[in-house]
């Protein structure tokens, strides 16, 4: 945080304000309810561009940590960010802000689905949405795969293909596939450097 408390020449706004717990909560509530199709861009907009609680570099670093950890990235990010500014209470407040509103909304939807899921019209609409959402996920895969598969081939695409075959075709349990592939992949990354 060395350069963030000053105002370096390139940064129009100095990062001097620290969020209070209610501010932290409100910020993550807004991030969560704006975040259709991924909350990350909204988190960045809120934290870096609007509130100036972090510089872009600090944000990237905190997000790198969130990606490094298993589990949902944005959820991890709320804990990392909250704990940096408010310790354990900060982490709890940010997490509650991020998960609270979606949990309420989705619980209502789950109730409605349990009640009306068999209604022909609703089930048709959901079928269409599921087909479209699957297409979007394929697009995400293609975007992720492009840098890995288009440059000089090394071990990485083979690991990705092996993970795909193990989970999608063989339908092996994820922990097994992970235990078999992750150590190999990490060792190869270690040796490559």
């Amino acid at each position: 945080m060395s350069d963030s408390t000053r105002s370096p020449a390139g940064t129009p706004f100095p990062v001097t304000t620290l969020p209070s717990l209610p501010e932290l909560f409100r910020a993550f509530v807004i991030v969560s309810i704006s975040g259709f199709g991924g909350a990350l861009p909204w988190a960045r907009r809120m934290i870096v561009d609007q509130k100036h609680w972090m510089t872009a570099d600090e944000f990237n670093e905190a997000f790198a940590l969130s990606q490094f950890l298993p589990g949902p990235n944005v959820v991890n990010f709320s804990v990392v960010f909250g704990s940096r500014f408010g310790g354990a209470p900060g982490a709890a407040v940010a997490l509650a802000g991020l998960m609270g509103p979606p949990l309420i909304i989705v619980t209502v939807l789950a109730f409605l689905y349990a009640r009306f899921g068999d209604v022909e019209m609703l089930s048709r609409i959901l079928t269409g949405i599921a087909a479209a959402a699957t297409g979007l996920l394929i697009a995400v895969v293609a975007k992720m795969a492009a840098p890995l598969f288009l440059k000089r081939w090394d071990w990485a695409p083979l690991i990705a293909i092996a993970a795909f075959i193990g989970v999608a075709i063989m339908q092996w349990p994820l922990p097994w596939v992970f235990a078999g592939l992750a150590p190999v992949s990490i060792a190869l990354a270690w040796m490559k450097r």
Partner: protein, 175 residues
């Protein structure tokens, strides 16, 4: 796992949360394997519907576990599944956040991170495959999936528009 659905939900999702490298999308095949095949909590159709509902809901996509939990055991199931999926990794995030500065430049840290990239890519590709099998049960649904894949890859359109079009196509009775 055992007869109490809440314990099963907790056990499966807590374990899964620790292997979900790449977030919610990487965890879909394992959720499907457990919920549809091993435990037979839901049908293919219900699983695809849950995915659709999670996608059109605001907030993190991991919220699909809340829907699965609710389906299995009502409100208690929703709470337990969500806590199991988020609890272990949040605790880990909290603990690691304090020591991150010490090892963020470490060679092993960089090796782990770049080594996990292809693994999570393979898992997310498997998610797309599993979902396509659940959702695309006829040629028209497959055409919608293919078209949105192209549109999603080539443009940066807001996903809500794509979901709206998909929903309308479904409503029209083609699928």
């Amino acid at each position: 796992m055992n007869d109490n659905p809440l314990l099963s939900l907790f056990g499966y999702f807590a374990l899964l949360s620790l292997f979900a490298v790449g977030g919610a999308n990487a965890a879909i095949p394992e959720m499907h394997r457990i919920a549809v095949e091993v435990m037979q909590w839901m049908t293919e159709r219900q699983f695809a519907d849950s995915f659709a509902i999670a996608q059109i809901s605001p907030g993190p996509n991991i919220i699909i576990v809340t829907l699965i939990g609710y389906h299995v055991a009502g409100l208690a199931g929703a709470a337990v599944a969500t806590a199991a999926m988020c609890g272990p990794t949040c605790l880990l995030a909290f603990l690691v956040a304090r020591t991150w500065d010490r090892f963020k430049e470490a060679r092993w840290r960089i090796a782990i991170q770049s080594g996990l990239v292809p693994v999570s890519l393979g898992l997310i590709a498997a998610s797309a495959f599993v979902l396509a099998r659940s959702a695309d049960h006829n040629i028209y649904a497959a055409i919608i999936t293919g078209t949105t894949a192209l549109v999603g890859f080539a443009t940066r359109i807001n996903p809500l528009w794509i979901f709206a079009v998909g929903g309308l196509m479904g409503l029209s009775g083609w699928l």
